[in-house]
Symmetry: C2
Subunit: 514 residues, 2 copies
């Protein structure tokens, strides 16, 4: 039916165009009326079709989901905490369209380009949905000729990947990016990105973590020193990137069989990628026989040493691990790379959930230049928080009854004990709303008292204003505390003040919080 | 290049699959190596291609735009105010994917269906970008079997329309929707939607407005009473909808020539659609010779009378205008329809900007049922705030210098008067960040004092901590008030307390606000 509906709409459009053309050409009225008749016949089909109920599987597209009010409450809470940290570091906010010209995305993601969603060619530009927020940022900087920016961007991105939704892997998912663009001194903004990640992970309080760091120049130097030809650095890097999921033996085989690395070179790489540690490791490697002959390796190691020093000044040294197996998949990184990993599985009920990587990023100094006609570079460094995994952990806790969320913020419910108080309830709601108090009432004329109080309990609404005939005659209304079930009569005309006084008390007591 | 890149990626994928298949089948090593060689040859092409700088017009897709930090500050402020009102009325928040199965959108938007963005068929489901938030809500309610919900949803929607970007008409634009779903008493939730719109427009304070209301049943009854056949009600309604932009003569011509309405019927309609007023008009029309014979018209008029009564109780009677020319384009409305219109052009500098319609909505009782296999209905009513037009007014004010926004919230800038204080600045930033204070410093090792102070002034940062060698030797640092330029020495170890005390003072004075 979708198909025939579309064809019909197209026919109507064409017939309408024809009628308009005939009119414009002042053709004979008879001729025009004949075509109008055809148009009307087509349109009458449309009305009939609209009325037919539709038959198809009711679902969201593969790899996507709705967020219900509880999930939204979790999501908003997490995002607010992340935004608070971004703002604490002085970041500004930008936004870009959900789709880009396809050319903008082309050649930026290496083998992952196959995961990009394209839009249908409906005439006009060829568009694709954004794959991340980094390439749009680079396009924005180049297009607006901005050479300095500290910005955050929180938005959904799209990847036609195999979804694993229970583990927080979706085709439509949020990224929360913090990036610093500008020509600055070595490792100063890079270290601040790590500080930002630790503040966020501490604030979210979802478990112990480690922040792995490495350097693309060191990786290049290491490949060079091990005897990998320069044109194979990037693909070899992709193999190393798999070390967090696959054992060395598999990665080694891939390097040799698929990437064309010589077995001896692979074995040399294998001796490095098992190393991790702190500044002492970096200093030891600076004296390493092979690495010390590579300019790139020295550059990378000196960068790491400086980064670790700044991390110590920022008080986060104990969270950082220099790890030679960290490679990151994306092509565009040129300097330091990061990845935050939860080090312990999270206990939810009787089950343990392994979360793994929860943030990642690095330096990409050449990406903006790819969009500039004169290849003018704007060096950038940034980090992206993997919030979907955090959402999925918190949603699992919610489902296991280990946490509770409020999905609305209503403070007062206006209830009536007898029939025919709808208009009086509306007047009282108006007074409370106009005083800025979060209020609701039943949309039924004569709701049952029990239903109204149940609604307050279900929704954690702390106060109810209860209208009764006898009280109103005396110019009074009752205020009921839902938790304690205590009721007090207050003068009708002082209601707003009385409600505000009680809310202030509840808020200081913390009963009203989530 | 995009094209060849894609073909290449596809070839690599296929060749990779082949290699894996051969390995899995434990084929002769010679044979495998031959195919691996081919794979490597393909991959080496890829690396070369990636390095070529790209040549294409640097722009966002037609009808879309980036939001820079100032525009984002405006946008976030407007959205926060709208959300505050939605929450005041107890609304919960939901979200749905940016795309839906194409079938979900088919047959919901009448002639506007041609404006829907489709995704390319890349194998798998046939998807379209959402056109509004109402149809996804109906799909969500039916799919989740929810029969009662008061929700808000703020998200971007997509229409392949002719953009008029200076007037806030985009192909990607925000909608802010508030809807009440559930079987309730007549006009009770409907009136609250109007209350919500008035609270938002008052809060945003962007000019005088009127809230036009009408009723689809009254329109149907009117068409019936005027002699329009039932199968032409919806298309005649689309013509009436054009009355806000076109004179009656044009609309009349369209009705007769394109919609097939008899000239006498059109003339009868013409006498009604010029009417507008309050409850007295509705009561007069109840006694109207023609309308009083139509069951639908009576139903619509009685609804309007009840709605206007509730609006009086809500204290918004003076904002509401019952207007028989209001029709609304979308097919799915079944009861009351609304539209909020700014009644005066907005003065920006020497120019006047006509904004027009700024919110709209209505009742749609049959939409959820279209998604239910048993056609089970969930009656709904809602309203959508046209924030893009509000953004465009405020952005024009900003550009004309009539308002100012802060794009970051930094309270303290850590500056150094002499060279070689980077590490000391980092330590102080850490203390301030860890105490929750919004802080930044220069990412350069040795920034100039003037540049640092200029940054504070440009960004409205109220305080600077200024490090100097002689003060630090005495265990002191200076705190500078950027506006008054006064500096005070405070003990280094009491810095956090001293900063907090000054910020508290500035905040009560309101100097630090935007």
């Amino acid at each position: 039916m979708a198909e025939s509906q579309e064809i019909l709409l197209q026919k109507i459009k064409e017939q309408g165009d024809l009628v308009r053309k005939l009119k414009a050409a002042k053709e004979a009225n008879e001729k025009i009326q004949e075509e109008v008749k055809k148009l009307l016949a087509l349109k009458s089909q449309l009305v009939t079709e609209d009325a037919v109920p539709q038959k198809f599987t009711l679902k969201t597209p593969k790899g996507t989901r709705d967020y219900n009010p509880q999930q939204m409450a979790i999501r908003n809470d997490v995002l607010q905490k992340i935004i608070a940290v971004f703002k604490k570091h002085g970041a500004e906010c930008i936004d870009t369209p959900v789709f880009e010209l396809k050319d903008v995305l082309t050649g930026k993601y290496g083998e992952d380009s196959k995961l990009i969603y394209d839009l249908k060619d409906q005439g006009g530009e060829i568009l694709s949905l954004r794959y991340d927020l980094t390439v749009p940022l680079a396009r924005y900087l180049a297009m607006s000729k901005i050479t300095m920016l500290k910005r955050y961007h929180i938005a959904k991105v799209y990847r036609r990947d195999n979804p694993a939704m229970t583990r927080g892997r979706y085709r439509e998912f949020y990224q929360c990016d913090f990036d610093i663009a500008g020509q600055y001194d070595l490792m100063v903004p890079d270290a601040e990105c790590l500080k930002v990640v630790t503040e966020i992970l501490n604030f979210l309080d979802i478990g112990k973590y480690v922040l792995k760091v490495n350097h693309r120049r060191l990786l290049d130097g290491m490949f060079e020193a091990c005897g990998v030809p320069a044109d194979k650095f990037r693909t070899t890097c992709s193999s190393v990137d798999k070390l967090d999921k696959s054992p060395w033996e598999e990665v080694r085989t891939e390097m040799i069989n698929e990437k064309g690395v010589m077995p001896e070179a692979a074995d040399r790489i294998g001796k490095y990628v098992i190393m991790n540690g702190g500044v002492e490791l970096a200093e030891k490697l600076l004296k390493d026989e092979k690495l010390s002959n590579s300019k790139a390796a020295i550059e990378g190691l000196e960068g790491i040493i400086l980064l670790l020093k700044y991390c110590e000044l920022f008080g986060i040294k104990d969270k950082i691990l220099f790890d030679l197996s960290l490679a990151r998949g994306l092509d565009y990184y040129t300097g330091v790379i990061y990845e935050a990993v939860l080090t312990e599985p999270i206990k939810i009920g009787n089950e343990e959930q392994t979360v793994g990587s929860i943030a990642g990023g690095g330096r990409y100094d050449n990406l903006v230049g790819m969009f500039d006609s004169k290849n003018k570079q704007v060096p950038c460094v940034g980090v992206s928080i993997g919030v979907e995994r955090i959402f999925s952990v918190l949603e699992a806790k919610l489902a296991a009854g280990e946490m509770r969320v409020r999905t609305n913020e209503v403070d007062v419910y206006v209830a009536s004990a007898q029939k025919n108080f709808l208009e009086e309830r509306m007047k009282i709601c108006t007074e409370l709303w106009d005083a800025g108090i979060k209020t609701e009432h039943s949309y039924k004329k004569n709701p049952k008292m029990l239903t109204q109080l149940q609604h307050c309990e279900d929704n954690c609404i702390p106060l109810a204003v209860v209208l009764g005939e006898s009280e109103l005659k005396r110019g009074m209304v009752k205020i009921r505390n839902i938790v304690s079930r205590q009721e007090e009569e207050v003068p009708r005309e002082k209601l707003v003040d009385e409600v505000n006084a009680r809310l202030a008390l509840l808020n200081t007591k913390g009963i009203n919080g989530v």
